[in-house]
């Protein structure tokens, strides 16, 4: 269990998101679940960036969306500013969205092609009654300036911008309501490498400026290293390791983390030469029927008989280094 700290802005307890699989000839009945997120517990401190890393399909995007209630969780609690978001409904929830925002992966798909930049960024201001008319326009221009875009762009359409610029627009939209918490769902993975750094820097700048808290989702460890304070590693709907950035990179405990890290190239030819590559065998198992015991046992180089039977406890291995592995 992560320590429920007084400074935690958001706390996730036992979060589960199952997508039902229905079957049935005439009446649809649930036969199984895709256990996309299967019991997560963690907290994010105010002003902190938590990196969430895992392979495609491990449930990290679902986690982000479930926290923001874009997918209603199957079970669990998401305590945000003293309220359990899972219990909120309708208008209450809608009002709450003012404090939490999201930045999307695909800067091309995440902006409505039929709205001008001004309308896109202005929409949150409008729906939360923050600003109207001239005030709204000024605010939008200000936001454009903040994210490093020309404020004259307000009347343009998304198709007239490059990917990096669009992502800046997406950031501006998220910032418009002055949120406390932003889920960054792989915000740079669709961008050119040259642009990625710009966006990362922008996000960092903004964090400092507005005292933001990020959940930063990424599929590889190299990206999150720079921006995260702490990092959680996910495998098949569960967090297998959660700790401080440096602890994770220097002393990974979970064999899966080790394997992931071994795939990250190191920008030092000497070290890179010595880098031991752990190649995982087999595919990621189906989340419909996850392996018994430790989900990772089918691919784990350290697999023991126990792993096949018992699900390892997610425990503190010292210095807030949480891990779920029998071998540790």
């Amino acid at each position: 269990m992560a320590n429920p700290q007084d400074t935690a802005l958001i706390e996730v307890r036992g979060l589960k998101k199952y997508f039902p699989i229905t079957q049935g000839i005439i009446f649809q009945r649930k036969v199984a679940d895709v256990k996309a997120v299967d019991g997560l517990n963690f907290a994010i401190k105010k002003g902190e960036t938590l990196g969430l890393v895992g392979e495609s399909g491990c449930g990290k995007s679902t986690t982000g969306r479930a926290i923001l209630q874009l997918y209603r969780p199957t079970a669990g609690e998401v305590i945000f500013q003293g309220k359990d978001l899972v219990k909120l409904q309708g208008e209450e929830l809608r009002k709450m969205r003012r404090n939490m925002q999201m930045i999307f992966q695909d800067p091309y798909a995440s902006l409505n092609p039929r709205m001008t930049v001004g309308d896109i960024i202005g929409e949150p201001l409008e729906v939360h009654n923050i600003a109207k008319g001239k005030e709204k326009k000024e605010r939008v221009q200000e936001l454009l300036k903040i994210v490093g875009l020309n404020p004259y762009f307000v009347n343009r359409y998304p198709h007239e911008f490059s990917g990096g610029q669009r992502q800046r627009i997406g950031v501006a939209r998220a910032l418009a309501v002055q949120p406390d918490f932003i889920v960054c769902d792989e915000p740079i993975s669709a961008l050119d490498v040259s642009i990625q750094a710009q966006i990362i820097n922008l996000l960092e700048e903004l964090q400092t400026k507005f005292n933001l808290t990020y959940l930063f989702i990424a599929h590889d460890l190299s990206v999150v290293r720079h921006i995260s304070d702490r990092i959680a590693v996910m495998y098949l709907g569960k967090i297998v390791e959660l700790t401080d950035r440096n602890a994770l990179y220097n002393n990974p405990l979970h064999p899966y983390t080790k394997a992931l890290l071994s795939a990250v190239p190191i920008p030092d030819p000497v070290v890179e030469e010595k880098r031991e590559r752990i190649i995982l065998v087999g595919d990621v198992p189906s989340p419909v029927r996850p392996p018994s015991g430790c989900h990772f046992h089918t691919r784990c180089p350290l697999v023991m008989d126990k792993c096949k039977k018992d699900d390892p406890e997610f425990r503190n291995a010292g210095a807030e280094h949480w891990v779920a592995c029998h071998a540790v």
């Binding site: 079957q23 049935g24 000839i25 005439i26």
Partner: protein, 342 residues
């Protein structure tokens, strides 16, 4: 897939039952009711129908019962209900015609027309395919050329022509004026000659088929060629076509081997969905060309208020439409391996 089929068949059944019930209700909504014609004022007191006669007729035809019961009897018979003699539609008793051919069983009546309708619709279907697919391909390959514009204009012409008007003009030119000009003329209508050396021969029937088939196929040809064109354009944009070209495959082969085959996939669905018309026939075309098919039977039954015929007709049509929808989905899975239903 099997589960999917069974589920679809079940929902099909429900859809059909609900639609048949709606049709039944609507038929019975019409003022005057089924016996209206008999009660019309005649010129002499000889033909006046007394109230007792009316009640007796109502009873004979089962119209004295409440609506929902009538529907159930129609559907499932009344031999189990009150010792009646009707077996109901679902057990093969389609009833007897009241007006179109009194006393004739509806099944016999429908089977007497369906052959002609299948011939006509089938010929039109074939004609449409033979013309529409090459036209669509050519228009797509030569997009924005003069030829494309010409073919587009042709297609729109087909869609825009009022069928009855176009049919009359064909008769005028190819039957009447050709004859007046001493050219070999086509028969103006009917399914075959009633006398003459060729009566009933294949050639004779073919001659009678030409004009109605052309008129009937016109709309389909036009719209299918548009479908084919856009489907083809879509495919030509795909990477595998570009790759094939890049590999140096000659253009003709690119078109025939790579593009056309894939472009046909959506067209097959369109064609399958038009299959119910093989049964329904084409009301207007059959009327204009005196083609003795289902469409004419339908209008005849509608104007004469032959309820048993109408009901069965609409029921079969509904079944066919729903079945064609299902078939289209199934055919799709066969020809497009990317789609799987579960």
């Amino acid at each position: 897939m099997v589960n999917y089929l069974i589920r679809r068949l079940f929902s099909m059944t429900i859809v059909i039952i609900v639609s048949s019930f709606l049709i039944y209700m609507m038929l019975n909504l019409a003022p005057g009711g089924p016996l209206w014609e008999l009660t019309q004022a005649g010129s002499s007191r000889e033909s006046a129908l007394t109230r007792e006669d009316y009640a007796r007729l109502e009873k004979m035809l089962g119209l004295d019962k409440p609506m929902h019961l009538r529907y159930i009897i129609w559907l499932a018979g009344d031999d189990w209900l009150d010792g009646g003699t009707r077996k109901g539609v679902i057990r093969g008793d389609w009833g007897e015609s009241w007006r179109v051919a009194q006393g004739m069983s509806v099944m016999e009546l429908i089977s007497s027309r369906i052959g002609n309708t299948i011939i006509l619709s089938g010929a039109a279907l074939l004609l449409s395919l033979i013309i529409a697919i090459p036209v669509g391909i050519i228009a797509a390959v030569k997009q924005y050329s003069k030829l494309d514009y010409a073919l587009t204009a042709f297609a729109f012409f087909g869609v825009a022509m009022p069928v009855f008007w176009f049919g009359l003009m064909l008769i005028l030119v190819f039957s009447l004026q050709f004859k007046a000009w001493g050219l070999p003329a086509l028969p103006p209508g009917g399914t075959e000659s009633l006398f003459g050396p060729d009566q009933g021969s294949f050639l004779d029937r073919l001659q009678h088929l030409i004009m109605p088939a052309i008129v009937l196929s016109l709309f389909q040809t036009a719209s299918w060629s548009r479908y084919m064109r856009s489907s083809m354009l879509e495919v030509l944009k795909q990477d595998y076509v570009r790759t094939a070209r890049a590999k140096g495959v000659i253009e003709r082969l690119v078109i025939t081997k790579h593009a056309v085959r894939n472009a046909l996939i959506p067209i097959v669905t369109v064609i399958v969905l038009s299959l119910p018309s093989l049964f329904n026939g084409a009301v207007i075309t059959e009327t204009i060309f005196a083609w003795n098919g289902m469409g004419r039977l339908y209008i005849n039954a509608l104007t004469r208020g032959d309820y048993p015929v109408l009901m069965i007709f609409l029921l079969i049509s509904a079944i066919l439409v729903v079945a064609a929808n299902l078939l289209a989905d199934v055919v799709y899975t066969f020809i497009d391996p990317r789609i799987r239903y579960s």
